[in-house]
């Protein structure tokens, strides 16, 4: 079957995106406050976002294998190249992890000895919130995901050559998928606590992991839709029809609603219980970040809900592209809203204690500036480059996948 060729125009496009990202990072670094909080938070926002997308695609892929799903079999190579980004994404997370060990950034309040010394709550949490656990979660959990990702990818390529009626290769893929679901489910929750939730070290929420995971999943499906539509425009995947897009659109719709459900559950319980240490999380966001706070709900829930509610909007490429682009931006803003308030709080606190002049100059970053957007574009370039490179390394359609025929004759209405 057809093989994807990574055209030079695309290389150039992703290259320019990456250059924009690097330039934005350099400018951020040069114009930053003494603790470089804007520089490091910018990396954390994007690294956790794209690593999460790669991780959740792997999780989704494993779930599809185990549930005997067949409709995606045609374009499963796109999902595979998404999760192969894990290797690159985790490098960024490891760099941030090394930062907690060697102290070259101060994103996390629990990692600042001076602040922890007077803080009983964080002292009590320090058995978990410490650089060793952070590194352990990032390296060991991350490596285990990447290992499974490699196994599944290798087996999937092997199936192209050795696949037969006994489905030996596919059965081995099922074993790895069955390992991945519990492994990914439990470890990703712990990784999310450390990477994102511990930015607000005094605060915790028990469904934060679910919430972040669903946010990643929506973004992953949106990227999947955009990539497949683009490949189809280039003439690949002639057998991917409106029926497949309908199902992808349903996923985008369903998980947007799921995300909104978790968002609301988290918000309403905290609002209703009205306990000071819980409400402070939302108080900060409503007070200083209200634009993004409301934009988050409008873009990530109201827009996909009302646009994709009807049957035919899930079958039209125009509406799908429109919603996908907005939802990707929306979930990136959601990550911004998770990271920035905590970082700003910590930075302000450290600067006030050590460097009053810088603290006086320090101002909260309440909406993403051009530099943040530039870094986001840079990460999109990197993600796209890696995805297209992995795509070009293997045939686009897995010809011996046992479910390929089902996917070719997929009908939903």
């Amino acid at each position: 079957m057809q093989s994807f060729s990574f055209a030079s125009g695309e290389r150039k496009f992703f290259g320019i995106c990456m250059i924009i990202g690097v330039i934005s990072l350099i400018i951020t670094y040069l114009t930053d406050d003494p603790l470089n909080s804007r520089f490091w938070s910018s990396i954390l926002i994007n690294a956790s976002f794209f690593t999460g997308i790669a991780f959740i695609t792997l999780f989704f892929y494993a779930a599809k294998i185990l549930t005997y799903a067949g409709w995606h079999a045609q374009f499963k190579r796109v999902m595979e190249s998404f999760y192969m980004f894990l290797g690159i994404g985790l490098i960024f997370m490891v760099v941030i992890g090394l930062g907690t060990v060697f102290g070259f950034h101060s994103l996390y309040e629990w990692n600042n000895e001076m602040l922890v010394a007077t803080d009983v709550i964080i002292q009590n949490k320090s058995a978990f919130l410490n650089p060793m656990w952070y590194m352990f979660a990032t390296v060991v959990f991350g490596a285990s995901w990447f290992f499974v990702a490699r196994q599944l990818r290798t087996l999937s390529l092997k199936e192209d050559k050795e696949g037969d009626i006994e489905f030996r290769v596919h059965k081995r893929m099922k074993v790895w998928a069955a390992i991945m679901l519990p492994l990914g489910g439990f470890t990703s929750a712990a990784a999310i606590w450390l990477w994102l939730m511990s930015l607000d070290a005094h605060w915790y929420s028990t469904l934060y992991g679910w919430y972040t995971g669903s946010s990643w999943l929506v973004a992953s499906v949106a990227f999947l839709i955009l990539t497949i539509i683009y490949l189809k425009e280039r003439g690949y995947y002639p057998k991917v029809t409106d029926e497949h897009f309908h199902d992808l659109g349903k996923y985008l719709f369903a998980f947007s609603v799921f995300w909104a459900y978790l968002w609301f559950s988290q918000y309403m319980l905290i609002w209703y219980a009205n306990i000071g240490e819980a409400t402070v999380y939302y108080q900060t966001r409503l007070e200083h970040y209200s634009v993004i706070f409301y934009a988050n709900i409008a873009i990530n829930f109201l827009l996909p809900f009302f646009v994709l509610l009807r049957n035919d909007t899930k079958r039209k490429k125009g509406t799908l592209i429109f919603v996908s682009i907005f939802v990707i931006i929306g979930h990136w803003l959601d990550k911004f809203l998770m990271v920035m308030p905590g970082v700003d709080y910590t930075t302000n606190k450290i600067l006030s204690a050590t460097n009053p002049e810088a603290a006086a100059e320090f101002s909260r970053l309440t909406i993403p500036g051009f530099l943040e957007i530039g870094v986001f574009i840079g990460f999109i370039g990197l993600f796209g480059y890696i995805v297209f490179t992995s795509l070009s390394k293997a045939p686009l359609v897995a010809t011996k996948d046992p479910y390929l025929e089902e996917s070719l004759h997929h009908h939903v209405v």
């Binding site: 918000y267 309403m268 209703y272 009205n274 509610l309 049957n311 035919d312 009908h411």
Partner: protein, 175 residues
């Protein structure tokens, strides 16, 4: 339903034969009254050339009514009829209405669609169902033509159509 219809119908053993017969009927420009199957047959709607069902529009409207009912009723209670301050919340704590609003939206939407569906199909408690043949709820597939106002030669044409497309039985019934 005061107007009773005279129906000529053929029974088929298999859903594939049924689909082929429907295609043949549409090629011959025959006016199919209805098709009955014991289970949902894939590809039946496009074969019959049916437009997309509009019942989901009814669902949306009923959902909207449920939303407005829940929001309106709770707002009326807590703002004007019996205002209470509880838990330090404002008189109009709209967030705490959302779970109930959600439930009523779903309830109205679902029940409303069932009522619309039953009304359209003439079903309901106490209504005698007009079943052409009990076997269409078990193992037979049926194509029905309304022959109330038809000439004998047209009926003969339909008979011939059923025979050609492999119907296992051809019957006539007034419902």
């Amino acid at each position: 339903m005061a107007n009773s219809k005279n129906v000529l119908f053929g029974l088929y053993n298999d859903d594939d034969i049924l689909i082929d017969a429907i295609k043949a009927a549409r090629n011959q420009k025959l006016d199919i009254m209805d098709v009955f199957t014991p289970f949902p047959v894939h590809g039946l709607d496009p074969a019959l050339g049916l437009a997309e069902s509009r019942i989901h529009i009814a669902g949306f409207v009923f959902g909207l009514i449920g939303f407005i009912t829940a929001m309106g009723f709770m707002s009326w209670i807590s703002v004007s009829d019996w205002p209470i301050i509880y838990g330090g919340k404002p008189y109009w704590p709209v967030l705490s209405f959302i779970p109930i609003t959600f439930e009523l939206t779903v309830l109205f939407s679902a029940v409303g669609m069932v009522i619309v569906f039953f009304t359209i199909c003439g079903l309901g408690p106490g209504v005698t169902a007009k079943v052409l043949d009990p076997r269409i709820t078990d193992d037979m597939f049926c194509i029905a033509f309304d022959v109330s106002n038809m000439e004998e030669n047209e009926k003969a044409g339909l008979q011939k159509f059923f025979e050609e497309t492999g119907a296992s039985e051809i019957n006539q019934k007034t419902i």
